[in-house]
Symmetry: C2
Subunit: 452 residues, 2 copies
């Protein structure tokens, strides 16, 4: 079983393709290849699809398809907040596993999802249920520890850096004495990897942009910021600023935090670091300022994904299956740079215990940022540069990309509905061979079903 | 002389390439090919560059380079507001033309710029100065009359529709019972052509998005909007909404207008139609809502320009020169569809008197929009579909696009500085042959100089 969790990246489906591809080579040990719909939530609801029934061309198409093709969720098995519900969830999860004889579980996701994978691994050990759990790294945020970088990161940097180049070329051509400023807001809550990556635009950009990158790792100092910005506009007549959405003040408070809203993980909902800065710039410097907020567009930009990133994401899926077939459980696949500090870039995959990963956030080292804190330096550039290399040949239809269309053949449910009286009461059924697929999934079948 | 004005598109440089390409075929009648820096403002400041000195490969690179390679401006010769200054500007302009023996003037721009071109044409007639003025259409807004569409429109639609597909595929995969909504804000003040174009995403998009498109042409009715949105989320668990920045209420007031700010043309500065709607959706429906604001990124997205658009933009430049060489003045090049309502798409160029163009805004016909006003219909789709066809082979370096780098060899100035005592006093010099280029432009030379 493979499932996806958390916010999608434009290469998370490439990892699923890697899992399916490699699993297909081991059909002597693997009977069926199932996908869990909408991550752990869909699995709890016993919403499984038969990935072995998908066309090979559809699996290949996954390499350039954004979103999470199996569906994703932000559902958390809430051990801390609600141990009783969590124990119930775990119990249900293993009944689903048993009902469908799931013996390999591959979970693609970021920090929270690796934490879930770790807990499932520990629970399997506790129960003596033979299950091999391997986490597949996924996050545009690049904040997982023990891996050189994460699948998804290279693509978001390639797209965002290109956007910075394009916007900079546009605004540079409008620059007159009046001065002009553009602020581009990119994702990244705690870690500024995404924002920092846009520094790569400088190398190809006549306009020499971005001129400043505001990272969540560096406390925002309004006075220093305005001083630096003024000197840039005085010299160039325009400025291009990139800001990570999670920019914080000296007290660690996110400058654009909306204190009234939190997401299902208890994180504050952010809105508008760029708009926050725009108001400051227009008020204090009187410079006309426009904002760009890429939002979900940046993590879904499959039309301009990094070829390197797609290749690595696929390899992580392959490596996960190989590790599980080889007997490993409780690990996350990692990416390792095999020739750091030398050209050309070379990499391989490795494995790290899930216990070392969960909920550890990997931030940009301070020595990779210039002393004034306003730009990443050569060390960062050398690190990030190879990750955006290579382009895909995305198939086009009617002038637009063609994405994968999965048939998503549903697996017959073996259990009573989750949370029903029977579900609670029923003893876990004995392991049974997986049922043959019969009908495609329909909206009526489940809460977390993805609409066609 | 060719110059660019107004907000750039990602194909406005293709039109310049067309002008330079065609002018090069007529060097028996044309001595030199000059570019005016930063539109009419740079010409007034006598900031001219020698485009005949550019490498052919650089001119070719213009076809995939965003921004305005010659620089642009929003400067207006203000006949209404300040006739005295306007008369002074016109006088200076014709002294610059005479000093450099400018006899052909090609001005690429939108409504305001065509108005300027028209006035220059009339002034030349009044003065008996032999000048042929041809406007080259340019605007992502697609709101120029008497042309089937405008260069720049196809590319912004291709990029925006792709973004909608990608964001929709992303959010669809996260859709669970809680519901989710994304609002994507696109450009378009009076006309909703850009917003409407994203309907093309539906044809390629498993997620069937966008589900609603809010056009400036249709008065925003909050109650109807929420009713429709609720039914979409109830059915699909998610919704993708596109909104044109100039969305208006029943009284014609822009919903997101910031009354405290106006641009140099007196238009109100808009900020946040998407954020305005997000607040309504979250408050009234309680649905988690995220926004994307593409801003300048959409008009600068050369990495994903429409091949058809680039070809047409280039052809408009070619046609402008042909018309002028043929003796025409006071016209704008138009694009004509030669086989409306039939496949395959075919087009040619035409010419329309500038007097018919200036300050007329072409809106979407009401019969191209569904009765409820929330989506464009088949008539619009048939119109827009061919305009996004075709892709460019943008050269890539280090994983990022490579844009044109012009050498921008400056033409020696023949006149005293604009506004200086000598400028006002000096009689217009007799026409002189253009000076040989000597030094590249530097920042010190002029206010509107584009930083390197």
């Amino acid at each position: 079983m493979v499932a996806q969790s958390g916010g999608p990246t434009c290469v998370i489906n490439a990892s699923v393709a890697g899992v399916v591809h490699e699993a297909g080579k081991h059909m002597d040990q693997i009977e069926e290849i199932y996908g869990g719909r909408n991550g752990i939530l869909g699995i709890l609801n016993e919403e499984l699809i038969d990935l072995y029934e998908e066309k090979q061309s559809s699996i290949e198409d996954l390499k350039h398809t954004p979103g999470a093709a199996l569906g994703t969720c932000r559902y958390k098995i809430d051990f801390k907040g609600n141990p009783e519900a969590a124990a119930k969830d775990m119990d249900r999860l293993f009944r689903v596993f048993e009902a469908h004889n799931i013996r390999y579980f591959f979970y693609a996701g970021g920090n929270d999802s690796q934490d879930t994978a770790h807990k499932v691994h520990l629970e399997a050990e506790k129960r003596g249920y033979d299950l091999r759990v391997i986490g597949v790294p996924k996050t545009i945020d690049n904040d997982l520890p023990h891996t050189d970088h994460t699948p998804g990161y290279g693509s978001v940097v390639k797209y965002n850096a290109t956007t910075v180049m394009e916007v900079a070329t546009d605004i540079a051509s409008m620059a007159t004495d009046a001065g002009a400023c553009v602020i581009i807001e990119v994702m990244g809550r705690a870690a500024g990897w995404i924002a920092a990556g846009t520094v790569l635009a400088q190398q190809n950009c006549e306009a020499g942009s971005p001129h400043m990158i505001l990272l969540p790792e560096i406390a925002f100092d309004q006075e220093k910021f305005l001083e630096k910005l003024k000197s840039i506009i005085d010299e160039k007549k325009f400025a291009v600023i990139v800001v990570g959405e999670g920019l914080k003040d000296a007290k660690g408070k996110e400058v654009a935090a909306d204190a009234t809203k939190v997401d299902s993980f208890g994180h504050a909902v952010l809105s508008g670091a760029a708009d926050y800065l725009k108001d400051i710039v227009e008020e204090k410097l009187g410079t006309k300022t426009r904002t760009v907020k890429l939002g979900y567009a940046q993590r879904a930009a499959a039309h301009f994904a990094s070829g390197t990133d797609v290749e690595e994401a696929f390899a992580c899926g392959v490596s996960a299956v190989k590790a599980a077939i080889g007997g490993k459980s409780g690990y996350m696949v990692t990416l390792k740079r095999t020739n750091a500090d030398t050209e050309p870039y070379a990499w391989t995959t490795g494995h790290q215990p899930l216990g070392d990963i969960a909920n550890v956030e990997n931030l940009i080292p301070r020595e990779w940022i210039t002393p004034d804190g306003f730009l990443p330096n050569e060390k960062f550039i050398n690190y990030a540069k190879p990750l955006i290399e290579g382009e895909l040949n995305v198939p086009m239809v009617n002038g637009l990309p063609r994405f994968a269309e999965l048939s998503r053949v549903a697996i017959d449910k073996q259990l009573p509905a989750r949370g029903s009286a029977e579900d609670v009461a029923a003893p876990a059924p004995a392991p049974a061979p997986a049922a043959a697929p019969e009908a495609p999934a329909t909206d009526a079948e489940g809460a977390a079903e993805q609409p066609a």
